[in-house]
Symmetry: C2
Subunit: 454 residues, 2 copies
């Protein structure tokens, strides 16, 4: 193992340079204009898997963006790990808030800045490099490895989900290993044992058939923006509780043990508020910040647009307004059930004076993984070895929609060995990835292969 | 008078062709990119005044967009009328909803379609043509006439206001005549004796210093869109009453006589709702639709934007959201007082978890004119002659900010002889002007010159 770690140390700069190339490809999955970049990015991943020494590497066409597969199955009698990652990235807007162009990676203070740096190119790349280290240095791996890298994580992983359904034998494994979550803190080895789910809706409210003069019509006609504001306001009560009927029915209760373990993490509200520059934190009454982030469902408006939004004053009574509203879900909520409840409720609170259209844009179920599983134990040991520190167990507020799908359809535990940080601006301008963590991630991955093989 | 009317009839097509040229100039006053078009448009108006036979015609530079002045003061001992209009127009967005390009005038069903057709180029042009008819046909006018045509009506008339302050002698008159309002119905001669005022604000709510991942942060931090929705919701109660303290303090009470006279107009809620394609009308409880439009103040969101507004799903917890919120005011509300009350209230209802910035973008005072004034009586007779029908008296929901300024600073009655229609899409896509009304307006203007001279 020592020679593997030395090899990884020696190649540090190569890894960074290769990651830069990966980050230069603007593989934005929700934008049809970037279709060619998506293809280019899948080819890049394929080349990297081939160079790492994997077999049967291929780019697999789907109805959506392509998947990349590769395997090394020569460790007879040893367990098989399926390593998952995604090469697609979030859009870049608001582009004007980036200090550097999002697809021209730059290193500052030992962090690499680019869209996709931490979510998920940097993290997916760690595993390719750990496998490469074994194969280049020793010609073999301590266990069997399969890679599946997708290009639709940021838009719902629907092609991968179908591929899993149709290729259960190909993807069969003893554990799924994913790095697409965060460390609890800089330099703290962390395993994430729970993720929230998501139900993402778009609500369009239409009043008059066209924009009207607010002088000639104001006072006579319902204003769709005012109406939608009222409807959004009705989605949560004063205590931050979501008011959609049946919404909390399936929410798993926070255990006393969990509450105690979160308390031990000594999370500082004050520090957190300062980091994001707000005067105070806010959320559901009766729960700590970590509880609200990890084990409680939430509702957020992700965007809103309607009427005149240019500079100056235009006295219009708008015809339409559109809001994106999403809910983070927790075990054992079901995304489809919640979407249905949302649609029913939002329509029920709309006055007759407007028309309401609701679209279900995106969904993911929440998930939890047992801390007693062999794979979780191996991952804990691996990270402790790499970091030289004791592991902490956390949950995460975000969703990796494919996680519950893997768990259910492949009947395998999912290990979330995330090396990102919540402060690394994933989904925001100036996304970056800590290069120490990148290197520690490659080592953690290598140690995991060793530990899980035992 | 007969020969004047015949002359106007004979020149109908010329007037339309000249109006087309006027409408081709994209004189959008709120957009700095159209500065050159504004200048071009002022020159166009100057040329038309010169051609009409007016004296001392000049384009007057201001801090903002230029004014155009012209006069004919050879009717010794006769009264003087100051004719006002504006050559600037509203922006054109949403451009995609126009059936024809907004600055390529086209005639369909005897209506001319273009931005500015009814507001106010078509209407201002009527008076130039009536004066021209007199001067071309008889070489003189029955009274003294001054023209002041401005280029900042859609952005608050601030240069004109300053010009009035500094040129009271030049603009001295016995009445101000303005066509920038609407007929009650197609073919119905109408005088408008009251206008609403305006207070137009922009509210920006900022939560975290940058856009955050709604998974990683949702539930811990106040979401500015949700917060702003709640604040907007708080601006009006269930009965459509505005909740800003002191807001109704100065509102003139609706008289029994007024209520009766509005009733006689037989306004159809059903027809109105059908025209704008809404299932039901909505507004302040306890008042009829005409009352709500003409004598009651209102509050409308004119636009809102924040967070992710592109296609698909982006799981962002936005940093900022911005709304334009305007109030229509009625006698005797004061725009500055209302703006102050709004700012105080909106700040008072903002939670500590966000920052709120309010800008006062635009304001206008409401106004009423006496129906017993000599100028109003002359205008009534003039329109009745032109239309061959009995006049109706209405108020209007919109604002012409300069009206109360004229009334106060020149100490002159303001006659609102509007020939537009509320259904002509002013401030909206597919703005148009009824060409019968255009022609009737030229005749009404000519009759007014005759009547007011008596």
């Amino acid at each position: 193992m020592k020679q593997i770690i030395e090899y990884i140390d020696k190649n540090k700069n190569n890894y960074i340079n290769e990651l830069k190339e990966f980050l230069k490809i603007p593989s934005i999955s929700n934008d049809p204009n970037h279709k060619a970049d998506i293809i280019k990015c899948a080819q890049f991943v394929k080349t990297k898997l081939v160079n790492a020494g994997l077999n049967k590497v291929k780019v697999i066409k789907t109805k959506g963006h392509p998947l990349v597969y590769g395997e090394w199955l020569k460790a007879n009698g040893k367990p098989t790990v399926l390593i998952y990652g995604h090469y697609d990235v979030q859009p870049v807007d608001p582009i004007e808030l980036w200090d550097n162009p999002p697809f021209e990676p730059i290193i500052k203070s030992n962090k690499i800045f680019a869209r996709g740096a931490t979510d998920d190119k940097g993290q997916a790349f760690m595993h390719i490099k750990s496998v490469e280290a074994f194969l280049k240095k020793t010609g073999k791996l301590p266990l069997n490895v399969k890679f599946i890298i997708e290009g639709e994580e940021e838009v719902g992983s629907s092609s991968l989900e179908q591929f899993i359904d149709e290729n259960k034998k190909l993807l069969e494994c003893d554990a799924v290993l994913i790095s697409d979550t965060s460390l609890y803190d800089v330099g703290t080895p962390t395993l994430t044992y729970g993720l929230r789910g998501l139900a993402y809706m778009e609500v369009e409210v239409t009043g008059p058939k066209k924009d009207l003069h607010s002088g000639g019509f104001g006072g006579a006609v319902a204003n769709p923006i005012n109406i939608l504001a009222g409807m959004i306001n009705k989605l949560m009560d004063k205590n931050g509780k979501i008011t959609i009927p049946t919404f909390y029915d399936d929410v798993a209760k926070l255990t006393k043990k969990e509450r105690e373990s979160f308390k031990k993490l000594k999370f500082s509200d004050k520090k957190f508020a300062k980091e994001i520059n707000v005067a105070e934190l806010k959320g559901e009454k009766g729960f700590s910040t970590l509880e609200r982030l990890w084990v409680r469902p939430t509702l957020d408006c992700n965007g809103i647009i309607g009427g005149f939004t240019g500079d100056g004053a235009k006295t219009v009574l708008p015809s339409k307004v559109k809001a994106k509203i999403s809910m983070r879900l927790v075990p054992n909520q079901d995304t489809k059930k919640i979407a249905k409840a949302f649609i029913k409720y939002i329509k029920s609170i709309a006055p007759k004076s407007v028309k309401v259209k609701v679209s279900d844009l995106h969904g993911a179920n929440p998930s939890v993984t047992s801390l007693d599983d062999k794979s979780t134990i191996a991952a804990s040991k691996a990270m402790e070895k790499a970091f030289g520190k004791k592991i902490v167990y956390v949950r995460e507020g975000g969703s990796v929609p494919i996680v519950p799908v893997f768990a259910k359809k492949l009947n395998a535990p999912v290990v979330l060995m995330g090396l990102g940080l919540n402060t690394e601006n994933l989904h925001s301008p100036n996304e970056h990835f800590n290069l120490d963590h990148f290197q520690l991630g490659i080592k953690s991955s290598a140690y995991f292969l060793e530990e899980f093989a035992k």
